[in-house]
């Protein structure tokens, strides 16, 4: 691997920035071109549906790194830069403005795109989705105007994004309805007991929750959204609609270029694609586990860890991403922290106080620990993370026993003061 040859990174989000920084740490000294479609330097997305949406604040406060860092690391950031094609034979990418960029090696960090509703009215004015800063600003403005004028916000989708936006809107004084197609909240990722806790939390704050609501149409009045109608014929008045029904990996470029894709760019645990000169990281990927199973993660941790792996891969090194996946969500005063993947669980036990709520749900398959969701139980989360990272398990009985110390399974550590 020639450390002098140019590397192009497509996508300037958290993953793209991590690849760039890690490439410098890995000793790449040649040109490093980071291409992003948005006008902003790399920024953090999680606050866009949480604190930043509620408090506002400067765009600079979201930046992953300060502007001086790009300069110091000699990372050429191209904003407003859309890549339209990858020519793997000539090792070039084509830009929307008609120009081309030559690469020696390439990294893809194109992220994901919010799913759109295939129903009439989905593109009306006042129907919003969340991906970037501009979307968060638009949603924030719509919430504030609803709060001021007494209009109602309808959130379609009771997953992380939908619920975080609902909590933010409620906190800002707007009336909120959440329409969820299935029978409970966050059903794709959590057990019923956790869904219940969040349903109680939102209801207690006055958020209206509707389950089994299949949306049929977004109804307009004078060109602007007025209501959401379900297949059952119910109409929910809406001054603004936020659609949060999940995201799809943005793998179009990779697919068009003939890279292996399967609902995401297929990578191994070292972030290598089917082309040895191309690595990929973050939301746009589907990672092949040693078991052959594909896993898609949408998280900051995934963007960062796969970003490190991708940089190493482009430098001819192996740096597998093996840590247990973790996620977090903030809704009202509940901090939800999740570690592991609960898919395929056959048993859930809880530990702690369900009413407060301050408890953790432990997911098992055949008695082996798969994942832990913690609601306001930070130490459970941190300890579970350690257990899963070390490939350790505990029994369901131990998890449920409040007297049992989770740390007793871990290697003991010394708590000594070390010099700063």
């Amino acid at each position: 691997m020639d450390p002098q040859a140019p590397i192009v990174i497509v996508g300037a989000g958290q993953a793209g920035m991590q690849i760039a920084e890690s490439l410098r740490q890995e000793g790449h000294v040649g040109a490093l071109i980071l291409c992003g479609e948005e006008p902003h330097p790399p920024y953090q997305r999680p606050p866009l549906s949480k604190k930043w949406l509620i408090d506002g604040g400067s765009i600079n406060a979201l930046a992953v790194r300060g502007p001086a860092v790009l300069e110091r690391l000699k990372i050429t950031l191209k904003t407003h830069c859309r890549i339209t094609a990858i020519d793997r034979n000539r090792r070039e990418v084509a830009l929307a403005d008609g120009s081309r960029l030559a690469y020696d090696r390439l990294a893809l960090a194109t992220g994901s795109l919010p799913r759109t509703l295939p129903i009439p009215g989905a593109s009306l004015s006042g129907v919003l989705a969340l991906r970037g800063i501009a979307d968060s600003l638009a949603i924030g403005a719509a919430i504030r105007s609803c709060a001021a004028e007494g209009g109602r916000i309808v959130v379609i989708g009771g997953g992380f994004i939908g619920l975080e936006v609902a909590a933010a809107a409620n906190k800002l004084g707007a009336q909120v309805t959440v329409l969820e197609g299935l029978a409970r909240l966050m059903s794709r990722v959590t057990a019923p007991v956790v869904s219940e806790s969040f349903a109680r939390l939102h209801s207690a704050h006055g958020v209206q929750l509707v389950f089994g609501a299949q949306v049929a149409e977004i109804v307009a009045y004078e060109g602007h959204v007025a209501a959401v109608r379900t297949t059952g014929g119910q109409e929910y008045p809406a001054a603004c609609v936020v659609v949060g029904i999940g995201v799809d990996p943005d793998d179009l470029l990779a697919r068009s270029a003939g890279l292996a894709c399967e609902r995401g760019i297929v990578v191994d645990d070292c972030s290598r694609t089917s082309d040895p000169l191309i690595a990929a990281a973050g939301d746009c990927t589907a990672r092949r586990l040693p078991s052959g199973e594909l896993v898609r993660l949408e998280s900051v941790q995934n963007a960062i860890e796969q970003g490190k792996s991708a940089a190493a891969a482009l430098m001819g090194r192996t740096r597998p991403f093996v840590a247990a996946p973790w996620f977090w969500s903030d809704q009202f005063d509940v901090k939800l922290q999740m570690v592991g993947l609960s898919r395929g669980y056959d048993q859930v036990v809880t530990r702690g106080d369900l009413d407060k709520p301050a408890y953790s749900a432990f997911y098992f398959r055949s008695g082996r620990l798969l994942a832990v969701d913690s609601l306001n139980r930070i130490s459970d989360h941190m300890q579970a993370k350690k257990l899963l990272d070390q490939g350790l398990s505990l029994t369901p009985e131990q998890a449920a026993d409040p007297q049992f110390e989770l740390t007793s399974l871990l290697k003991p550590r010394d708590a000594t003061a070390g010099g700063a």
Binding site: L73, Q337, M382, Q383, A415, A417, G419, A420
Partner: protein, 112 residues
């Protein structure tokens, strides 16, 4: 803000390099380190006290001069990736103020 009023914080990177930054009062030590591009910090959750990847060791003589950790921070510190020491803190919870001028913190060898 004149630089005279900005506390100078020294960060020691895992490889031993010392970097001194003038940090705007009110800004967290994590945020200042991220903006400066320091390598020993990840801050994956962006300052939410959710990830413990902005772990640092505070020079012991400064420990008493800092606001004690909140319950959340104390709990997050129970299982940081690197060794937890009695002078371990999360830098996202340390807010710069004039009285911290001269503080030194060291980043551990790993954050995740």
């Amino acid at each position: 803000m004149s630089s005279a009023a900005m506390p100078r914080i020294t960060y020691i990177e895992p490889d031993g390099r010392a970097v001194t930054l003038e940090v705007k009062p009110g800004l967290s030590l994590m945020r200042a380190a991220m903006e400066a591009g320091l390598e020993g910090i990840e801050a994956q959750c962006g300052g939410n006290c959710s990830c413990a990847t902005c772990h640092c060791y505070v020079q012991p003589e400064w420990l008493d001069k800092l606001k004690p950790p909140s319950d959340d921070e104390r709990l997050m510190l129970t299982n940081v990736a690197a060794e937890r020491r009695t002078n371990s803190r999360l830098s996202c919870q340390l807010i710069a103020e004039k009285s911290l001028d001269g503080l030194t913190v060291r980043f551990p060898d790993r954050q995740s």
